[in-house]
């Protein structure tokens, strides 16, 4: 015990030495009314469900207005936060259990404002776009009801000041994503994808429940800020349970953020309409895990409490960024490429938080939200035009869809990290942080992260070069007549492209530190390293790596490549079937040994299906039921059987010897039997016999005692 106390006081000293006190206001009425941010979309979702059909634009108007409101409010909060800093927390009691208070509330600080802003702005643009994309859908109104619920659930999650509300938002996001992934529910494959997403998340959620339970009980409260305060004041037993709490919560985060090996649901989740994919991969759902680690960063940053959790986080993030990046290379479905790309980028964010780079991780989340939403919406625009998700049905689209092409190109530049697009700055900061961490803390995991983050940059550039080449260059291989999408879809693309170009400028080391100020406005101090200038020598390594990778990708898949099918007629539907299959064959990147592994997604899906799901639903469940019917239930059935025979025997031997209890019981049974005879056709004999058997048991009990 004294050791723990000494440890804790060391933590307190450490914090005091390392942290400047944050100067922030309470945000005034702007923060006090911020509960509207989660509440408005939640209410609107139900209004759409009941009245959407009768409203103008069949629900789209209400949904987009709700998201627009969040965007405006989020922007206002962001501006106010940058001016004065806002740290405020509000809670309303909704019940007491023992000494625990259950509360709804809203926390307004740098981190939650970041998410309000992202969900609002990106969400608004995606909703605008969805008007065009979902046109003619059989369940148009239903779609916007569940889509609004999805955004609302995320806002409930990010505004949560305590574990309970966080879990509520967490699962609301889960269930609404289930509805959205299974939107085209006539097709069982989509329902299977929805179930897979829900179940994978549920497994992780069970861990989150356990982690939340351990952490809350160790601290005696559900409230995050209170947990951190008590942690530092030495009023918790978190030093004892911290590692397990941290691990269980991190597993929960891995589920939502689709970290390896919980990534299996995300590619299948592409079954949902493309706007859903865009929002899910940009600002909601998959960012929830990253958000959770960031929210609990005061805990994770202190090894005195979280033990070696940070190393685990780094390794999981780094492995994810590599493995998922590789999977993106071999996909034909353009949305799947982007999906794996998202998981890979989430790996960057998670690993960044693991190395203690709080701002860098969130900065990448921020820039990624814009360019990944852009890429998905642009992909949606393509799918809308060619009626297929597969790149083997695309090609040469540059000419038909110029806006989509240019915006997609900007998104690609941002994603692979070309100066001066957004991803360049955020990815660079993560790599720099990883390097800083490794040089100060030269353990294997730290260097592992540095190497993998550079390899990851190479892979990212490679698969994006492939996507751009196969989609926009070469010959159009599809059947439908491609065309540019309507303005309601291209305008959001342009807006997102503008953000993807400029968002990186918010956090240039030594020059603009707007973003750092923004997200470090937290009630509890964040301890991290700040760079005073860009790490030029890392840029000098990473940028050539990226350019080289783009070059190789272009050589392999671009139109001038010998490997690639080179017809230049450019007219639609003039490609013969054999030619087409040759082209498709070439476009698939078949690396020996690695390809089968990637094609089968490292066999992890198979492992889950054949190792867990099928055995549980099949033999294990069947065996349980068999045991229930044949073993557990055999005891009463056999007892009844024996009693029936015994009763008959007793009756035959000596009627008079049966004591009073038996007579009364028998008479009662007879009477009941007579009464029931009115209702029961036949089988009365059997019934009476069984009844009597029961009474015998009853009597026997009295005799025994």
């Amino acid at each position: 015990m004294p050791a723990v106390v000494a440890e804790l006081s060391r933590v307190a000293v450490f914090l005091q030495e390392n942290v400047e006190q944050i100067d922030a206001g309470d945000g005034g009425w702007l923060a006090a009314y911020a509960w509207l941010i989660p509440v408005v979309p939640m209410i609107v979702a139900f209004l759409i469900l009941f009245f959407g059909k009768y409203s103008p634009w069949k629900g789209w108007g209400m949904a987009t207005a709700a998201l627009g409101f969040v965007a405006v409010y989020g922007t206002a909060l962001a501006v106010a936060n940058l001016r004065d800093g806002i740290i405020a927390e509000f809670s309303v009691n909704i019940g007491d259990v023992g000494t625990f208070a259950i509360e709804w509330g809203w926390v307004v600080d740098g981190l939650s404002i970041l998410m309000f802003f992202l969900v609002g702005v990106v969400g608004f643009l995606v909703f605008v776009y969805a008007n065009g994309y979902m046109k003619g859908d059989a369940r148009y109104t239903w779609f916007f009801a569940s889509f609004t619920l999805f955004a609302g659930g995320m806002l409930v999650l990010v505004s949560a000041p305590n574990f309970i509300q966080l879990i509520v938002g967490w699962e609301l996001v889960g269930v609404s994503s289930y509805l959205l992934i299974g939107h085209y529910w006539e097709d069982m494959d989509n329902i299977d994808a929805a179930n897979k997403a829900f179940m994978t998340n549920k497994v992780a959620d069970a861990a989150l429940f356990i982690g939340a339970v351990i952490m809350s009980l160790s601290a005696g409260t559900f409230q995050f800020s209170e947990i951190f305060t008590r942690m530092i004041d030495g009023q918790t037993v978190l030093a004892q349970f911290g590692f397990w709490a941290g691990l269980a919560i991190f597993i929960g985060a891995m589920g939502k953020s689709a970290q390896f090996p919980f990534h299996v649901w995300l590619p299948d989740a592409m079954a949902g309409p493309t706007p859903v994919s865009a929002l899910m991969h940009a600002a909601t759902m998959v960012t929830a895990g990253v958000y959770l680690i960031a929210r609990l960063f005061p805990f994770y940053q202190l090894p005195e409490f979280s033990g070696s959790m940070r190393t685990i986080i780094v390794v999981v993030g780094a492995v994810t960024l590599l493995f998922m990046g590789l999977l993106a290379i071999v996909q034909d479905d353009i949305k799947r490429v982007l999906a794996y790309s998202t998981v890979s980028q989430l790996g960057y964010m998670v690993a960044a938080l693991g190395v203690g780079a709080y701002t860098a991780g969130l900065f990448h989340l921020f820039t990624h939200a814009f360019f990944k939403a852009l890429l998905f919406l642009a992909a949606g625009s393509i799918i809308h035009a060619v009626h297929s998700n597969n790149m083997s049905d695309m090609g040469g689209l540059r000419k038909y869809m110029p806006v989509t092409f240019w915006t997609f190109l900007i998104g690609t530049a941002a994603l692979v990290g070309i100066f001066p697009f957004a991803g360049f700055w955020s990815k660079d900061e993560i790599i720099a942080s990883a390097y800083f961490n490794a040089s100060n803390n030269p353990e294997f995991a730290a260097w592992f992260m540095v190497v993998l983050s550079i390899v990851g940059a190479f892979i990212t550039a490679f698969y994006m070069a492939r996507v751009v080449s196969l989609t926009f260059f070469g010959t159009y291989l599809g059947d439908a007549k491609p065309h540019e999408s309507p303005a309601i879809m291209t305008v959001p693309l342009v807006a997102l492209a503008a953000a993807a170009t400029t968002a990186g400028l918010l956090n240039i080391p030594g020059l603009t530190e707007v973003f750092t100020e923004w997200v470090t406005t937290r009630a509890f101090p964040i301890v991290e390293h700040h760079f005073t200038e860009p790490e030029y020598f890392l840029i000098a390594i990473v940028t050539p790596v990226v350019l080289l990778s783009l070059f190789i990708g272009w050589r392999l898949f671009g139109p001038s490549s010998e490997l690639h099918y080179t017809s230049t007629s450019g007219e639609a539907a003039d490609v013969s079937a054999p030619e087409r299959s040759v082209a498709v064959e070439r476009d698939t990147f078949r690396i020996p040994v690695l390809y089968p592994l990637l094609e089968n997604k490292y066999y992890i899906d198979d492992l889950y299906m054949n190792g867990i799901v099928r055995p549980t639903m099949g033999p294990i469940a069947d065996a349980t039921l068999w045991v229930d019917m044949n073993v557990v239930d055999a005891v009463p059935n056999l007892t009844a059987g024996v009693a029936k025979h015994a009763a008959a025997a007793v009756g035959v031997i000596d009627d008079n010897a049966v004591d009073g209890v038996y007579n009364v019981a028998g008479a009662t049974t007879g009477a009941i039997g007579g009464f029931l005879r009115q209702f029961f056709p036949g089988r009365v004999q059997q019934y009476v016999a069984l009844s009597f058997a029961g009474v015998v048991i009853f009597a026997a009990l009295f005799v025994i005692f």
């Binding site: 339970v213 039921l625 055999a634 029961f680």
Partner: protein, 530 residues
């Protein structure tokens, strides 16, 4: 009104009005169906209104005290009294049972099971109502026992007369017997055997109570609890009495492995029978643990806690796995009760304020949610004329409203946060991490993790059910059948359940506001700490 309730008349009326209703029904000729329906509706409606007034008059600053009570001499020779009252623990249960009865009558309006006999069905339902609410307010062991047993026969007849007429093949003994016969007798015998033990336990407590205090033998639950708190009824005697009470209550809950009557009874029963069984009857057992076993035998409760916890968690896992193997939608819901009541019992087994609060809100939530599920399953069976899930599919196209209600109920059942089912599940996990000091933390933490796995399995079978029933393209068989979507009486009967499931999910104080102080008081006096 305040005086009416303070004098004990209000509560007595809530208990006995349905009995009066049953007598009135007996006098109405069978042909006069409208009169029968309205009598039943008015009786249960007035009872519900009275319960509502009681909720409003209830003093929430004194939830640990028994309010609106009466204590009259009843059978003087054995010092059994007509002692009733409600505290924060019984209040939600009384409201739940009156509500479910009222909704069952409304639902019955155009859903009469065959053989057609509204008069008898409603009479039995009224009897059930008296038995159930009586059990929740009884503060005398004999009174409790009488009410507890009163429930038995009407339900037996309900299953036996209106139950499923299919053939049940019973393995091992190789019987082939009509489902309703098998199920009703099984239900009857299990419960009867259990309550025989329970009565023995009660009698033992009565005789032993003379050895303590002023030497007067008593059946009074309040007095016995006070004795229990001072350390009476311990040792071998305590062990056997607890065992007897356990037998009575555990059968009713039901706890694994005493649960096998449940799938048969729930599946075979007519719709309102299943609803009442699931929503209220199962709670008589868990309520018995909280009201009688724990406070009167706190020392033994500590000794038995690990055993109850282990059985509860076996029930959670086992029930969920059995669900996964079901193709009959009603049977699936029935087995799901085994799992859900496992969470309730796990909460109770921790012997903490959090755990028992979790158990009570879990009981209420399970009543609302599983009640709704059985209503929907009944209405589905009414339309499809089958309960086999593989034959169904595409309900979201065939009957979108039915599909949405089923989906919501299923989501609530799998413990989705912001719906009622979440609180009981999460809070009992919370309680298991730190059970009452003295209980094995390592065991209960293992149970917590195992129960958390159970939440995953629960999600698994509920999603599986939705997949089979709600989604996909409907088969030709149903497309041409022109199934009617949710009807007016169904909406009226279901809407209150849906609203309460959401309301409690968003604002659990509806339940915790009544229970928390009462539970803390119970735990403090029985176990000396939270």
């Amino acid at each position: 009104m305040q005086e009416f309730f303070d004098s004990g008349w209000g509560l007595s009326l809530i208990v006995f009005l349905p009995l009066v209703g049953a007598l009135v029904l007996a006098l109405i000729p069978r042909r006069f169906e409208a009169g029968i329906k309205w009598t039943a509706l008015i009786t249960t409606g007035v009872t519900l209104v009275l319960a509502g007034i009681m909720v409003l008059l209830f003093d929430y600053s004194a939830t640990a005290e028994f309010q609106f009570g009466a204590d009259l001499s009843w059978i003087e020779t054995i010092n059994a009294n007509f002692h009733i009252g409600v505290d924060g623990i019984s209040l939600p249960m009384v409201v739940l049972s009156t509500l479910i009865m009222f909704l069952s009558v409304i639902y019955s309006w155009d859903h009469w099971p065959e053989p057609h006999n509204p008069k008898l069905l409603m009479m039995l339902a009224m009897l059930l109502a008296t038995g159930m609410t009586g059990t929740f307010v009884a503060l005398d062991l004999i009174l409790f026992f009488v009410f507890f047993e009163v429930v038995l026969l009407p339900m037996y007849f309900m299953i036996g007369i209106w139950g499923d007429t299919g053939i049940r093949k019973v393995p091992v003994v190789n019987w082939e017997i009509e489902m309703r016969l098998y199920a009703s007798i099984k239900f009857f015998l299990f419960t009867l055997a259990g309550s025989a033990f329970m009565l023995l336990g009660f009698l033992a407590l009565y005789f032993a109570s003379g050895d303590y205090g002023e030497g007067i033998r008593t059946f009074d639950i309040v007095e016995l609890s006070a004795l229990g708190a001072t350390g009476a009824f311990v040792g071998t005697f305590g062990f056997w009495v607890f065992a007897a009470l356990f037998a009575g209550f555990a059968v009713k809950v039901p706890m694994w492995p005493l649960h096998t009557w449940l799938p048969d009874a729930h599946t075979a029963a007519p719709t309102i029978g299943s609803v009442i069984l699931a929503a209220v009857l199962l709670k008589l057992g868990t309520y018995g643990f909280i009201r009688i076993a724990l406070p009167i035998l706190p020392g033994e409760a500590r000794n038995w806690a690990w055993f109850i916890g282990v059985l509860a968690v076996i029930g959670i896992i086992y029930g969920s796995l059995a669900c996964l193997a079901q193709s009959d939608v009603k049977r699936l819901i029935a087995y799901s009760s085994v799992g859900h009541m496992g969470f309730v019992m796990l909460g109770i087994a921790t012997l903490t304020a959090i755990g028992i609060n979790a158990a009570i809100i879990g009981m209420v939530a399970h009543g609302l949610i599983t009640g709704l599920l059985f209503f929907v399953a009944g209405s589905m069976a009414h339309r499809y004329h089958t309960r086999e899930m593989p034959r169904m599919g595409g309900q979201m196209t065939l009957m979108p409203r039915m599909g949405v209600v089923l989906g919501l109920a299923a989501m609530a059942s799998l413990g989705l946060p912001a719906l009622a089912g979440f609180w009981g599940e999460f809070m009992s996990l919370l309680a298991s991490f730190n059970p009452l000091p003295g209980l094995s933390t390592s065991l209960f933490r293992t149970l917590m993790v195992t129960a958390a796995v159970g939440t995953v399995l629960t999600a698994g079978y509920m999603l599986w059910m939705l997949r089979s029933v709600n989604f996909g393209k409907p088969s030709g068989e149903w497309v041409s059948a022109q199934l009617k979507d949710v009807g007016t009486y169904e909406w009226i009967a279901w809407a209150p359940l849906v609203l309460l499931i959401i309301a409690i999910g968003l604002y659990p104080k509806i339940v915790f506001g009544a229970t928390n102080d009462a539970v803390i008081n119970l735990v403090t006096s029985a176990f000396g700490g939270g």
